[in-house]
């Protein structure tokens, strides 16, 4: 690795080639379906191509994760303004379970079930959990990406996991 200061702004095709799968996986876990994931990844690459996102030399995964999150949250806000295609997971309707609820997870949980539970999370929790457990970001990185304090990141990840546990519990 050369001096971080001398890294050029990445070329979108190079990004797509080298980090396409990472980018798409994060987009898919956030969006929950291929159609939205494709749009999300496409918009991220467009922003990279147009130089709309300032590139801070360092972790390419961290940079892409941040852009993907921003695009995702922009899209969520856009849909909220248009009630006809509002997302089904309005966070106001979701009541987080009591902490410490003793719920056993099903022994065999299918990836589709895990994805469905992630997709059903309120956006703020979903973003935090995906950044942590799919994109592999540290709390500090997530805090910077989302522009929220470290304590908020910690809380969102934990509450997100608590809701996932409830969703995935044996009926």
């Amino acid at each position: 690795m050369t001096d971080a200061e001398e890294q050029p702004v990445p070329d979108w095709e190079e990004v797509a080639r080298t980090y396409g799968r990472f980018l798409y996986t994060v987009a898919y876990r956030l969006a929950g379906n291929h159609e939205d994931a494709q749009d999300l990844a496409q918009e991220v690459l467009l922003r990279v191509r147009r130089g709309l996102e300032t590139y801070k030399p360092g972790s390419m995964e961290g940079w892409l994760s941040r852009i993907t999150t921003n695009v995702f949250l922009d899209e969520v806000r856009r849909r909220r303004r248009r009630p006809q295609d509002a997302l089904p997971d309005d966070p106001d309707r979701v009541v987080p379970p009591a902490p410490g609820a003793d719920v056993a997870l099903a022994e065999q949980t299918l990836p589709e079930d895990v994805q469905a539970a992630i997709t059903a999370l309120p956006d703020e929790f979903r973003v935090a959990v995906v950044l942590c457990d799919v994109a592999g970001q540290s709390y500090q990185e997530i805090s910077e990406s989302l522009g929220v304090p470290l304590g908020t990141v910690r809380s969102r990840i934990h509450r997100g996991r608590a809701i996932l546990r409830e969703s995935l519990a044996r009926p």
């Binding site: 798409y24 876990r29 690459l45 546990r165």
Partner: protein, 134 residues
């Protein structure tokens, strides 16, 4: 550390606690079944999410503006054009290089004749799009 660990359990399992806090949390865990059970539960959920496989895009990734899947004007025009071609095909008119004179002729017939004036083909005048007369 006082009280149960709560949110600190996620931070603990993610290795995101400062070393002092981590030591205190581990101390607490050693004597608290409730927190130990919740730690196991949080860890199980975390592992499930982390075990999800990578996802491959269905189409090659591109860097182009995203259309928001509302029926656009262009889509409407394309649909109209497709319908027109289908009409021409059904009426026996071939939309190829030889179409020009035929269509022009039919337009001539259509525009210079009263309705249903063509005794040979009832279809030909009816199948002509209005736009050809302009």
């Amino acid at each position: 550390m006082t009280g149960h660990l709560g949110e600190a359990l996620s931070a603990l399992v993610d290795g995101q606690l400062a070393s002092d806090d981590e030591a205190a949390a581990l101390d607490h865990l050693a004597g608290c079944d409730e927190c130990a059970a919740e730690l196991a539960s949080v860890t199980a959920v975390r592992n499930l999410v982390r075990a999800l496989p990578p996802v491959e895009p269905l189409r090659p990734l591109v860097a182009l503006p995203v259309e928001h899947r509302r029926p656009s004007r262009l889509a409407g025009m394309l649909a109209a054009a497709a319908a027109m071609v289908a009409m021409l095909l059904l009426s026996g008119v071939q939309p190829d290089a030889g179409t020009g004179p035929q269509v022009a002729q039919l337009v001539q017939v259509h525009t210079t004749s009263p309705v249903n004036a063509d005794p040979m083909s009832q279809l030909a005048p009816a199948a002509l799009p209005v736009s050809f007369t302009r």
